[in-house]
Amino acid sequence: MNETITKGHFSEEQIDKDLLKNVNWGGKFKLWMGFLTVSLIICLYYYYQQLQNGLGVTGLHDYVSWGIYISNFVFFVATSLIGMLVSSVLGMMKVSWVRPVARIAELVAVAFAMVAGLIIITDMGRPDRLLNVFIHGRVQSPIVWDIAVVVTYVVISALLLYIPMLPDIALCRDKLNNVPKWQQKMYKSLSLGWNSTAKQFRLMNRYTRILLVLIIPIALSIHTVTSWLFAMTLRSGWDSPIFGPYFVSGAFVAGCAAVIIAMFFFRNNYKLKEYITADHFDRMGKLLVLVALVYVYFNINEIIVPGYKANTADAKHVHEMLYGHDSVMFWLVQLGGLVVPFLLILFKPMRKPLPLTIISLVILAGAWFKRVLIVVPTQLAPYYPIQNVPEGWTGYSPTTPEVAITVASFILVLMIITVLAKLFPVVPIWEVKEDMNHKNN
């Protein structure tokens, strides 16, 4: 029984009304944006401090020079990958149930990818020298590759959000007469004179298809290259040939969880229960199980292979993870944030919207800490012992400015998603209509 598409009880007018309803600037939105803005300003004050005093205000030091900023960057890049999986892989396989949630996935992808680039800048002590990376970058450096793919991915994701939305923007232009003038103007210019002609549809589909094909290698390379930032070094814990697929599979777990949370939020706040159905959650839950299984498989490889051979540095790293200094976080993340949640989702009642969202929140939190576990402990175990340095350098704990700046990145993501979801319908209206017509005929 496919109940993911509205059951055909609605007229086209009803659908327009239901799905355009969210495009307004209500009191709730203003309150939420106000809250986000105030929080962002507080966090930005800490970034001002960091700009003024340098990275000394963070907990970073000579040994741990990549702390929660870079962990957060990896997490953001990971989360943004879901756009590719849902809209491209499933979309091209004509998995029709994803169509109402594809735009949400793309929103998540665009927001996280855009902010990921900014996070890198927060990790720089001298952001004014950013241009030097482009001027003096070596083509051999994974950092240069990373910049190239992150920028490309942001652009592709934005285009992939925009181009299939053209008919809906035109609908906004035609139907929404009570929105501010600038907004009407924006719809007018963004809709590119959309008139639903056959040729326009043909062009749109053609460009979308090119993008859908392009985004697969780009998305795979964005996270593979991110993993190479680590794997191309000789450090124990990073020096691993499976880091690319390991990161990509982990990315889908984080992304699925993020999309489920966003789906739940939009479904309840925008009253979209008829369009984003319980069946959608059920299927997203199953998808989450699949990607989590793949990720668990890579996790086992990542630990058992070096752990079995036990060459000195890797053995120490594995030991620290399993029983040592990082073991509490390790087991919380692996069991609490991955294994137990995915075992729970195996049961149908757990794939209902609310329980699935709660589980997704846990998985997303676990995914964030997992990135910290990948980035930080390796740096605390260099091949040369840490000696003759200040005592604090034998460990790492983030400072208030660091945490605040990291929180700021999440606030920015929420702001981007919120504004985009208020400017445009979050469920593709024309696709829902098309599906329904297709079914009715």
């Binding site: 003096h136 070596r138 083509v139 490309t152 285009l159 181009i163 008139n195 056959a198």
Partner: protein, 295 residues
Amino acid sequence: MKNNKGYNLIILFCLCFLAVANVNAQSDWQAPAEENEKLSPFLFDDDMVLEGRVAYENSCTSCHGTPGQDDFTPMSPPPGDPGAEAFQAQSDGSIFYKIKMGRGTMPKFEDAFADDELWNIVAYIRSFNEDYKQELPNMEGVVIPEYAMRLSFDENVDKLVVKIFAEEVPQPEVSVSAYVMGTFGKHLLGKAQTNELGIAYVDVDPTLPGDEEGKINVMVKATKGFARAKLQQDLAMAKPTERHSAIEGRHIWSTDRMAPIWLKITFFVSVFGVWFALLFIVFGLRNIKKAREEA
């Protein structure tokens, strides 16, 4: 409680031992009279001081610090600063003996250094004492022969051939030590004694890496009694080796200009290819606008 008592006793004993050891070390370490009066057969010159410095920095600095700086490691008994007055008050023979034989925490260097090398260290230590006047042995009636040395390489048996003469007369029973000179010091090739023909043979490993012509810089020292000679020379006795820079040519670890071509092509073709496609789409958006009227 019983255990505690035991521990207390052990600690007390250790403290007593340390105190005694301390006093002993500072006052009681005397070289035997005969050794005490021993004099260096070599005149302490700049060359010896320089060689002594290298040996000192490798083997002594970690405990004794830099002479004259009073920066020795705090130990019990304290190792002391070799530049200090109390240290310099000892005779050459006493310093020589103590380095050679060691005691307690002071290691025995007898096996690490030959006598002439030990004297180098003494010469270095003495170079920190401006008032020092080297006491030379009574040389009356002693004739010190002046050695001439000739080096060659016998490639049939892979041996360095050292011939030692004094006024064209071959010198037997001269101790010869040969070294390969490297960038960061010398490496012992071998030691030998001259035969009745004044010839000493030192084994050479033919796989030693030399320069492009197989030349290697060799230093040979010859000593017998007070007689002493030294010769440094390039000899073609090693394997000809062509040295390559580790990042020669195009290389993943080299500068951007020297990046591997396959990498440059892959990177730029992919980036430009993808952006070309994106620009194609962005410009293509105009076509969507144009297509608003049904044909």
